[in-house]
Amino acid sequence: MSDYLVDIKHEKLSFFTPVGEVKALNDVSIQMKEGEVLGIVGESGSGKSVTAYSLMGLTADNGKIVDGEVNFNGHRVDLMTEKEIRKIRGKEISIIFQDPMTSLNPVYTIGNQIEEAVRVHGDKTKEEARQRPRELLTLVGINEPDKRLKQYPHELSGGMRQRVMIAIALACEPKLLIADEPTTALDVTIQAQILELMNDLRRKLKMGIILITHDLGVVASMCDHIAVMYAGEIVEYGTTDDIFYEPKHEYTKGLLKSIPKFQEKEYSRLVPIEGTPVDLLNPPKGCGFAPRCDSCMKICLERKPEKMIINADGTFEDMPDETEYNGKHYSRCWLQKKEQFELQDNAKGES
């Protein structure tokens, strides 16, 4: 058994569609300790949700793990049957979705839906199961819980519904909470409240969180580590400080440039990342980001860059082949080796 709560090794996942195999994940490796908060950022279709969903077997029916291992809390999730996975869903691993407006069943009361989550794993007595929804609503900061339990989803606001979703997710005190863009559908003021709530609960319950988002502002305030995904790969990984202050991959830099800043003059424009994401039906031979990259070199189009560890002093070294968690900052970019290439070229020229 691994020491990690989450240990994904070289996961490859494809969706088999009528038009062909869509390679959604290409060699993704992630390690995460208990109680850690990991942010996964990237644009739509980069594979951030798929990575997290595959941890609880929630990918669509045509999605199959083709290669690699998915370990969670001592389970080999990729080898489990649907029936086995069902036993850990909602109990050891929970999820909250992007849109709280549609994620609750409109025809049942809030109380009914929370109680279902409590009862489904059946290790509570009847009396406990009856008391639990009330406790949970209090825990997620909903006032008048007794009144809310009898209400239907359409009678609550968006922020309140997301709190209810969190209450459902926490029903069995999971070890890991996946938050799939939990604030995207909410008003800005409510966004901050929900993030604060999640941060608070994480400390109280000592659970790990995987926060999936395309909003870098959201991850900055909460995460221990950040993984930047592009075209089904993790292109850069590091602590929040590494990613924000020492970004090494051109895509990460591009993402950071596209955040509006307060200090800038009002007439200076935001810098977008030009171009469109790659077609995962026919992934390119080289680096997925190369066609959109300003510093693209010949080699970027021809060979996939390997992971390289970036040391605190700015030097880099090749990452050992076996994925080993050390929380170290790494990126997948040929630019790190540019200097080395230049030296080699010079040496050739001289000889």
Partner: protein
């Protein structure tokens, strides 16, 4: 809720009034009369008969008399079935049709809802295609064809079931099957499409993420959301099937209301035409109110005001 029901019933009375008025005048616009076909009737005798039933008076006076009577619950005497009031005919024939129709509706729901759900859950697979083919055939095959085929094979050839009347429990089998073929097929198609819609909803994914079993997620989370279109269809369906089908009653020789309803027209049995039409209209109106109330119970987002 009570206020809503009272309002709906008042509107229903108004609708029934409009139906009665329109039927009365349209019926009288159609050429012919109840006593024309009888042979060797002297003009004097015919005039006497018309006078007896008040048909000699101006149309508007006849209308006022009729409406006055019906307000007191009297739908008049049948012109063709001597000695029977329209009330008697409806009272005697309706229970027969209602029992048959009720069973057919029940059977349609019991077949259509599961088949539609199974098809949706196995979308694109063999079982889905089989269900689609059968439900399309069920919609396309006319009742007279399915009835006669059943009768030919099950009664004439195999001698398994009685071919006419409603004397034994077994004699219900064929008429009920014939009546439910179309609605069962239609319900399964309705159910399939609304189930497909519901399966793709976010709350179904939430149920899965909680660790709820597939069986429970269908029965608890999907069914109640997907059943609404079927409930809408059930209102008028109940009214039509319970007031009797002319074709099925004719083929299986069943003494039901559907037969009276249709045969009253060519014989110009004015009071019976009026009576059965108003009865059917009231029944449809009532069923629609019932459907609306059922709606509010199934989906809490629907408020009756």
């Amino acid at each position: 809720m009570a206020k809503y029901i009272i309002k709906r019933i008042l509107f229903g009375v108004l609708t029934a009034f409009v139906v009665a008025t329109l039927t009365f005048f349209i019926m009288n616009l159609v050429p012919g009369g109840p006593f024309l076909s009888e042979k060797a009737v002297t003009p004097q005798a015919q005039a006497a008969m018309e006078a007896k039933y008040g048909l000699d008076k101006p149309l508007f006076v006849q209308y006022l008399t009729y409406m006055g009577d019906i307000l007191q619950g009297d739908m008049g005497m049948s012109l063709k079935k001597r000695g029977f009031t329209v009330n008697d005919i409806i009272r005697n024939k309706f229970p027969v049709s209602a029992r048959l129709g009720g069973m057919a509706v029940l059977l349609s729901v019991l077949i259509g809802v599961p088949l539609g759900s199974i098809a949706a859950y196995n979308r694109g697979k063999v079982i889905d295609n089989i269900i689609i083919v059968f439900s399309t055939a069920g919609i396309a095959i006319p009742t007279f064809l399915s009835s006669t085929l059943m009768m030919y094979f099950l009664s004439v050839k195999l001698k398994l079931l009685p071919s006419l009347g409603l004397t034994t429990p077994a004699s219900y089998i064929m008429p009920v099957l014939a009546l439910s073929l179309y609605p069962a097929s239609y319900i399964s198609r309705l159910m399939r499409s609304s189930m497909l819609d519901v399966i793709g909803q976010d709350y179904m994914r939430t149920a899965r993420a909680k660790g709820v079993s597939t069986f429970k997620s269908i029965f608890k989370h999907a069914l109640r959301n997907a059943i609404l279109p079927v409930v809408t269809y059930l209102g008028p369906l109940l009214a039509y099937l319970m007031t009797g089908s002319f074709i099925v009653e004719k083929i299986f020789t069943i003494p039901g209301l559907g037969h009276e309803f249709v045969s009253a027209i060519p014989s110009r049995d004015y009071p019976l035409i009026m009576g059965t039409t108003i009865f059917l209209a009231c029944f449809i109106i009532l069923m629609n109110v019932v459907v609306d109330i059922a709606y509010a119970f199934i989906d809490p987002r629907i408020k009756l005001k």
